[in-house]
Amino acid sequence: MNVRSQISMVFHLDKCIGCHTCSIACKNIWTDRRGTEYMWWNNVETKPGTGYPAKWEDQEKFKGGWEKQNGKIRLKSTGKGRIVTNIFHNPHMPSMDDYYEPWTYDYQHLFNAPEGPDQPTAKPISMVTGDYIDIESGPNWDDDLGGSPVYGKNDPNLEGLTEEQKLQLFSIEQLVFFYFPRICNHCMNPACVASCPSGALYKRGEDGIVLVDQKRCRAWRSCIAACPYKKVFFNWFTGKSEKCILCYPRLETGQAPACFHSCVGRIRYLGVVLYDADRLEAVANLPKEQLIDGQRDLILDPTDEHVLEGARKNGIPDSVVKAAQESPVYQFVKVWKLALPPHIEFRTLPMLFYVPPMAPVMANRKNGALNSVSDNLFHDIDDARVPMRFLANLFGAGQEGKVAYALRKQKAVRWYRRAVTVGDVDLETAERMLREADCTIKEAMAIYELTSLCTFEQRFVIPPMYREKALEALRDPHEVKQSAGFGFLSGPRRGM
């Protein structure tokens, strides 16, 4: 057993209101520099929708992540033999058209415009070229457009839905959408790290945060093609790749990352999990339908004696182990099995998990009349307006059972609390639902606490990072923030 610690995350989609406060918090701290205008390390997508960059989930187009070949896994995008042929042009790399051309407005014109018959207006100008442009797309272009035939319909997760289900998703009073906030998943088996010919990307030993070394990056951009979530970006001004750093300077001083801290819906949880690195390759190689269980199995019980011994042997401080024991992520992912990895079939084993969203309250329609009574207490999950297949494509590697389990448990907890506080559901029925959803009263109360009543300290369990022991701590990380970003110890420079 090779015990490693990782700062891991859960996003509770049932609580996301799609306000984009997270994106703005991130933008203001990290990507307000030249060359980073188009980057959204954190973005919020509407599902069904095409996302940012458009259709990032379509790996036929972008060739991100890993694939199985001859019993082993290999990168879809690149390899030792193929990198040379793609040096000048990689056909699978997203271009600016796939993201969007960042723009601002020519505000000066409002002051400088010559006198005329009409009020002046500030026209949009490109932040790349400075020329006037017509805005044709944006990072959030399909916001709230789940029911649109242009955006929603092109969601790659609609694969496998029946024609009837698809039709329902695009008809009035039937359509449905939910929000899908995304940051770097800080994967266990990151394809970006594996793809870098310069070895510039690395997964930090102490907390598993995936970073790009700005000095070693040589602008190969293999990471951008390799990341199936398209969460590594190329800074066209410095000629280096950049990505979400999970606000490590904030974590090191005991603060939650900016997107977590600012989250209005309090959907975000952060905590340490311990995992067994020895079995990582074997798990990444499992058949698709075993990946979710495989990854859960890699996450170790932080109270187990053998695990504690392994942690000590690997130099994981006791305070980090204690944080792992109190981790909300461990509860959501391993104990309650409520949180699921996004697209684990890309085989990067993402360490950001999502609690799938509950469907809108659904009534049965019988002979044109609404009828909400059914013998099957979970009928609204089985016949949800978000088709189970869609959620399964997104969070369950195609398995509806995994998603249904998480939704049934959520619903049972809701009904149990309704029986306790409102009393219009009888307790006996609620307890029967708990049993059918594989949940106990004790567990239901714990889920309720951590979902609804959770404090800041319960949502973010951040261990001390012991940066005083690291050499970099002696250098001032603020020195070049304006030109390169926080934590970079020298200014941006193109090329070698």
Partner: protein, 97 residues
């Protein structure tokens, strides 16, 4: 979008969320940025500031001396039901700044 009250030029999206024959606009965009000229207004810039229709005042709107009737970006207008109206929606034929 236009009717007897005036003209508003804005971006539009088509979605199954809205019933046929209905369009929703919460605010009119500020003419201050990114609003082109409209041929329906003899090539003048269309639109107002946030209130889509004429603002019809009731005395209780005036109570309190709030800023909604003073010009400012994003000022408040009257409540939504005051704004319900019949309009025609047409695609802008030529983009003219």
């Amino acid at each position: 979008m236009h009717n007897d009250h005036g003209v508003v030029v804005t971006r539009a999206v088509v979605s199954a969320r809205i019933p046929p024959g209905v369009c929703i606009q919460y605010h009119s965009p500020e003419r201050t940025f990114s609003v082109p000229k409209s041929p329906l207004r003899n090539d003048r810039r269309a639109g107002g500031h946030n209130s889509l229709t004429r603002t019809r005042l009731k005395p209780n709107f005036l109570a309190g001396g709030y800023g909604q009737f003073t010009f400012h970006f994003n000022y408040w207008g009257p409540i939504g039901c005051n704004r319900d109206t019949h309009i025609l929606v047409r695609k802008l034929p030529v983009l003219k700044w």
